[in-house]
Assembly symmetry: C2
């Protein structure tokens, strides 16, 4: 690959896409050309990138000529339609949507978990679901040593995972609350301010949601282990940014809390914040705007001989989406 | 016992105490005299009960003369100090604090779970922790049929569980957010608005909090089963009222989701709200201000052959505290 890259961003104006631009700047990615692509509604508008204004182009089948890498984050249906054209035009696509994640031949990658899979790609590399990323970054080092057999996870997911319009909805609802007006909702089926919704993505026949099933299926694919069991409960909470997760794992080999803490302290992408006596534990307010997944409340599970409980939080727009995609691009251009 | 009762309320001005008054009114409890007791700060103020004004008295060791029943909800240290005096004065105390819950000889009771234990009392009957009540009301009917061996629970607990001042703190913080002021905190160690705190009550040596350990110890005591395993993660969320809980249970006998749903549909104190296709599931906004625990998202656990997952929510000031205490009083006066 060349030393400077022509990068397309599908969904450049969205909650994740706009952060992708910031991450490319922050990490000083070698960008020869930045080509933001969005719907006709945003086409012609200007975006700032490295101090210069870049015009947003309308996303069409012909948008990809000359691009080396496309970062896609405009929704699964948009990806399904346009990503094949990007690949045909010669670009490598890092797709943040669910469109191709489970397709055989499409690597699904968290660099801290399975970076080696990147080079098996045939044009598309999939970025996992945000909740799966926040969960697996801290679990992988434990799995490597003790082999995780089962994960029970309950999530506390931020509204920005839904998109920019959900951030506005939560802001509007607290304004309506403060001014004593009726609280309106449009993005979510119910009020999210001062409420929690046990419903993320659509419901499946087995009673789990698609979001919950992603946490099983994507985990199996990335760990290359179809025997690992995952039961997730995905819950939306009135938090703007950063997903938190209550994790209970069962391992083949017993792990003490201290062993787990030590493993996580030297793990890439993880920050151990686990000093409850001094009120130090992961909180979504602290993890937002940075790239590490915080892990804390690490304790041996009193209900299971080989169990371990922990509490993690991470910025799902950054490490859970944009940063993970840019990290994949970095490895891709560095080569094997 | 007489047919009209003289009732003392310790902590009558608090978040739970004030609801105890409302519940006594709603359920038409046969009250001959209502004696609200509170700190010297509130003494002399007036409370409304059944349309009449009742003067708050200062809580002292001599406050209990002539009382039949005392409902105590002024904190564990206050209960430890004053409840023995109430018992000595001849009253039966229903104590909503943690002061006596684990003492041998003090029944700990949820009427839907172990009403029969009420009559073993020697002056004190303890009301369980709110999170334990919300959890066990829907689990008891499943336990009776399939024998629960292990519970993994993550909670989503409302700020009113902390008390009135925490409600004010959350209100103030969203006002500060809307007006662009710095967000202040005093009740909680960190901002609770737009955040979640993995910290309720104090931390123990095993890494669990006291709140989390209560969910184990109280469950064992009420089910009279020291072999049942419970691992809890107790989390505070920015919700005003009603605790929600993500529950995963493992049973000796396999339960299908449909069997569990049918058992819960005929269970006392439970309302099944489980029609995800029509977006019907339990939410704290819907459970507040009433006494049933809502159960939904009932599904067979895909990670465990004898596992079942469900999502429950209930008003922790009412069924999780005040209503449960008044229900105990009702059974007490009805007699065996």
């Amino acid at each position: 690959m060349p030393k400077q890259y022509r990068i397309g961003i599908m969904g450049a104006t969205g909650a994740v896409g706009s952060i992708m631009l910031r991450i490319l700047e922050e990490r000083d990615f070698p960008v020869a050309e930045l080509r933001p692509l969005a719907s006709v509604r945003s086409a012609g508008k200007l975006l700032k990138f490295r101090g210069e204004e870049v015009k947003i182009r309308e996303l069409t089948e012909d948008s990809f000529k000359g691009l080396d890498i496309v970062l896609a984050s405009a929704g699964a249906s948009i990806s399904k339609k346009y990503v094949p054209h990007a690949v045909e035009a010669g670009a490598t696509v890092i797709d943040n949507t669910s469109a191709f994640r489970m397709e055989p031949g499409v690597p699904l990658v968290i660099p801290e978990v399975n970076a080696e899979d990147i080079f098996k790609h045939k044009g598309i590399i999939a970025n996992p679901n945000c909740s799966t990323i926040i969960m697996l970054v801290p679990l992988k080092p434990l799995h490597d040593v003790a082999r995780i057999q089962r994960i029970v996870v309950s999530t506390y997911q931020a509204v920005s995972g839904t998109g920019s319009q959900a951030i506005t909805e939560l802001e509007d609802q607290v304004k309506q609350f403060v001014s004593g007006e009726p609280i309106k909702h449009e993005v979510y089926p119910y009020q999210i301010a001062f409420n929690v919704l046990p419903h993320i993505d659509t419901f499946q026949d087995n009673g789990y949601t698609r979001e919950e099933m992603k946490m099983l299926n994507e985990t199996r694919k990335m760990l290359h282990d179809d025997s690992i069991q995952v039961s997730a409960t995905a819950i939306r909470v009135p938090v703007f940014t950063s997903h938190s997760e209550s994790l209970q794992i069962e391992t083949e080999k017993k792990l003490t809390a201290q062993q787990a803490r030590e493993l996580l302290e030297s793990a890439p992408g993880v920050k151990v914040v686990d000093d409850p006596a001094n009120l130090k534990y992961p909180m979504p307010l602290d993890t937002s705007g940075q790239d590490l997944v915080f892990a804390g409340r690490i304790r041996e599970d009193i209900s299971h001989a080989h169990g371990l409980a922990l509490w993690v939080a991470g910025d799902q727009l950054r490490k859970g989406a944009a940063t993970n995609a840019v990290q994949i691009a970095e490895i891709l251009i560095r080569g094997k």
